[in-house]
């Protein structure tokens, strides 16, 4: 654990940045702040995660172990606050339950299949029909703020797995440019407007980049990111669907174990790599790892 000394858990920054986005949305973009939804999302996620981990370890976890069990789920909870909308408190609660439970139910080789909050959001929308996403909520003037914060995240965390984000972003932007500017002949500001929604950057650097739910091997990761970009682009442009990024991320998740089978590599664990990635949501590392980490 010597190397670990200088680097700080990137998830810490991630929570802070998500909180900044949320407060920016509420106070600056004047979202109809749904405080009950925020409280339930955070409280529910923590509660379910605590219960699940306590059951799994057959003991009550202590508050000072929060780093081990609570951080990742807090990131998921913040994603629910930022993205999901609903009029009903019990739907917020259901979303937190689905988010947490997906990590325990859908598992292959010690890796959960779905990005927890993406799964929670998609499943809640699909099954209840009473929740929605607002792709337009960030507007088009926020790109600078988002860019700055994203850059900050990258610098701060000295990313290792930026490859997923960049492969995705370049493919997606390239396809959009090809379609909107080259094929259809829209002026360039039309294309820029498509890119400048906060949702795209948020997805790129805070969701698809999750090292716990992307393939382990670098080549597989890049292929996977390109695949998501192509599928999301196709559905958005030719099938006129909204929020395709998050839907495709969830639908493509079962391919990850397949990629892992073809391209063999080590599984990512939070805190074990010298320079961990900034992105995504991890989960509780296996028990034996917890014990080792406690030694520092």
């Amino acid at each position: 654990m010597q190397k670990h000394k200088l680097s700080i858990d990137p998830r810490y920054f991630q929570v802070i940045f998500q909180a900044i986005f949320l407060f920016y949305g509420i106070f600056y973009l004047h979202w109809n702040a749904d405080w009950l939804h925020y409280i339930i999302s955070i409280g529910g996620c923590l509660l379910f995660q605590y219960a699940a981990d306590s059951i799994q370890t057959k003991r009550f976890l202590k508050p000072n172990e929060f780093d081990r069990w609570g951080f990742s789920v807090l990131i998921s909870a913040m994603s629910l606050c930022l993205l999901l909308k609903t009029n009903f408190w019990y739907i917020s609660l259901l979303a937190t339950f689905l988010t947490v439970i997906s990590k325990y139910i859908f598992k292959v080789n010690k890796k959960h299949i779905f990005n927890p909050s993406a799964f929670g959001i998609v499943a809640t929308i699909y099954f209840t029909n009473n929740a929605w996403l607002s792709p337009g909520q960030w507007g088009s003037n926020t790109v600078i703020l988002f860019g700055a914060i994203t850059l900050g995240t990258i610098v701060v965390t000295r990313v290792q797995k930026l490859d997923v984000s960049l492969a995705f972003l370049f493919t997606f932007i390239g396809l959009l440019y090809w379609r909107q500017v080259y094929v259809l002949g829209w002026p360039i500001d039309f294309f820029i407007h498509s890119l400048s929604t906060g949702s795209l950057l948020l997805f790129t650097f805070f969701m698809i980049s999750d090292p716990r739910t992307s393939p382990n091997h670098p080549v597989a990761r890049i292929l996977w990111a390109v695949l998501i970009a192509v599928a999301a682009f196709y559905l958005a442009v030719f099938k006129w669907k909204y929020n395709t990024l998050i839907w495709v991320l969830v639908l493509a998740a079962p391919l990850v174990p397949l990629f892992d089978k073809i391209f063999k590599s080590k599984i990512f664990e939070w805190g074990l790599t010298p320079n961990p990635s900034p992105g995504g949501e991890g989960s509780l590392p296996p028990l034996n790892l917890i014990k080792q980490q406690n030694n520092f």
């Binding site: 670990h4 000394k5 700080i8 858990d9 810490y12 920054f13 802070i16 909180a19 900044i20 407060f23 920016y24 106070f27 600056y28 973009l29 004047h30 109809n32 909308k85 609903t86 009029n87 029909n129 009473n130 929740a131 929605w132 607002s134 792709p135 337009g136 909520q137 960030w138 507007g139 088009s140 003037n141 909107q180 094929v183 259809l184 002949g185 829209w186 002026p187 500001d189 039309f190 820029i192 407007h193 498509s194 929604t197 099938k239 006129w240 909204y242 520092f296």
Partner: protein, 494 residues
């Protein structure tokens, strides 16, 4: 008051829309001959469920009717049965019902003991809208490649449905047939053509028009299926340098609609504003809209009203400023699923999952220009059924003798309240007390002591600093502090 928006009520040209692909459908007004076409406020009713769209476009065109022409991109070649002419009244009904409203409350004199529950509501008016001239421009001649897909006479309108191979050809065709194309239309015609859109070209049939009373144009309603839920405003923006307004009245089964490629913002509502605003609510609202629109960065859709207007819902507004739309009105507006004839299933979409007669109404107000709106408006239906109305409150002070103890307390509170009202006025409209010149006309001011008059309260109201930014900076500061402390803790641990 300097009504910044009241630059004369010019012409309203309109362009309406819909779409498919990257396309859309707010058309542009083209003038036949050299009539000068001025400005635009468009009103559009969109009814949407599944992939089915019914769009009604209203032109408040005030020029010579024979000069009127409109081009709207549509995703499919419309059949004659899909095009209808409806009565203009429906737009008046919807506008009156859903426009921002002013509510009046009356204080009671605490020194009098009788109860007086007077409360009435007053209708506000939709503000006058800035109106700009529309430039016309000549095009170069080239190959055409324009095909007339269909030709109909519907009501007083001659309708052509064109498809084109390239924009110059389309432009030339229109010009040769006597339509004036606005400058800037080029940049969007090409993408629309490549997206395989058809062009719905409308002009007035003079012979048919003469058979009808009045010199106005009735709204046109079209009905088609397309997965894309949008309004092509880009074509209507050919006039590059002015702001144009559009009111969208939307009906869905599920809930509110919102823009997906622009922010949807609800106006600050249920605010107490000074009594003198009552005399000029129209101007107040015009300023409020302009101010909030600028503050929010312009590239937004403003929510003005959202309510469940299902036949089974009895509370259709609170307070109501006019009668809520009846089932007949809804049918007229194109809401095909209310009052459905269950003996005739031709109207029922196979894919329709929800056979209820729920109707949810959303009113959006969009002020757009070329710079802030590079893309056509796209919408989505959400399950959000929370009611919303833009509502502002004025309160009449009590009158009479205030010499009792409670009366003195009341005067003190009145002063405080009026201070808040003036601050709210500035916050909402960006204008100060001194910008309003209608105060003196308010008779009621004479019946209360001078110290509680707006005039004297105004002198103590300092210019309010940006409250909201304060909150934002405080939040960021607190977050920064938490991060800092957290980091130090962690470093210590390690």
């Amino acid at each position: 008051m300097k009504p910044i928006l009241k630059k004369g009520s010019a012409l309203i040209i309109f362009a309406a829309m819909l779409t498919h692909e990257a396309a859309a459908f707010c058309g542009f007004y083209v003038s036949k001959a050299d009539g000068t076409l001025k400005n635009k406020t468009s009103q559009v009713i969109i009814v949407r469920d599944g992939n089915r769209n019914v769009i009604t476009m209203y032109n408040d065109f005030k020029g010579n009717l024979k000069d009127f022409a409109m081009v709207v991109p549509v995703p499919v070649v419309l059949q004659k049965k899909d095009i209808k002419v409806v009565e203009q009244q429906i737009f008046t009904t919807l506008n009156e019902y859903s426009k921002p409203r002013l509510v009046e409350y009356y204080d009671q004199n605490p020194c009098n003991k009788y109860e007086d529950e007077t409360q009435k509501s007053l209708s506000g008016k939709v503000p006058g809208i800035t109106i700009r001239g529309m430039a016309s421009m000549k095009a170069e001649n080239k190959d055409l490649g324009v095909k007339i897909e269909a030709k109909y006479l519907v009501g007083e309108y001659d309708i052509l449905i064109l498809s084109a191979k390239e924009s110059t050809g389309l432009k030339t065709w229109l010009e040769e047939n006597g339509y004036k194309i606005p400058a800037g239309a080029d940049e969007v015609l090409e993408p629309y053509i490549k997206s395989n859109l058809k062009f719905f070209v409308v002009k007035v049939n003079e012979a048919e028009k003469k058979k009808l009373p009045g010199d106005f144009l009735r709204p046109i309603q079209i009905n088609f299926s397309s997965p894309k839920f949008m309004l092509p405003i880009r074509l209507g923006m050919a006039n590059a340098d002015g702001d144009q307004d559009m009111i969208v009245y939307a009906f869905t089964k599920k809930g509110r609609i919102e823009a997906t490629n622009y922010r949807t913002v609800s106006l600050p509502t249920a605010k107490n504003i000074p009594l003198f605003v009552k005399n000029n609510f129209e101007n107040f609202y015009a300023n409020l809209f302009q101010n909030q629109w600028s503050k929010e960065g312009k590239a937004i859709a403003m929510l003005e009203y959202a309510w469940d207007v299902s036949p089974k819902n009895f509370v259709k507004c609170d307070p109501c400023v006019s009668t809520a739309p009846s089932t007949q009105d809804l049918v007229q507006a194109g809401v095909w699923w209310v009052n459905r004839d269950w003996n005739d299933y031709t109207d029922v979409d196979q894919q329709e999952e929800d056979y209820s007669d729920n109707v949810y109404f959303t009113r959006l107000h969009i002020r757009y220009n070329r710079k802030s709106f590079p893309q056509d408006l796209q919408f989505q239906t959400t399950p959000n059924t929370e009611n919303y109305q833009a509502r502002y409150i004025v309160t009449h002070p009590a009158t009479g003798d205030f010499s009792c103890e409670a009366g003195k307390k009341y005067l003190k509170q009145l002063k405080e309240r009026r201070t808040d009202e003036l601050e709210m006025l500035t916050y909402l409209t960006g204008k100060n007390y001194s910008d309003w010149d209608v105060v003196g006309e308010n008779v009621e001011e004479k019946f209360i002591p001078t110290e509680a008059s707006y005039n004297s309260v105004a002198s103590i109201v300092a210019k309010t600093p940006g409250k909201e930014n304060g909150i934002l900076y405080t939040t960021l500061g607190v977050l920064g502090l938490i991060s800092f402390v957290g980091l130090r803790q962690r470093n210590k641990k390690q």
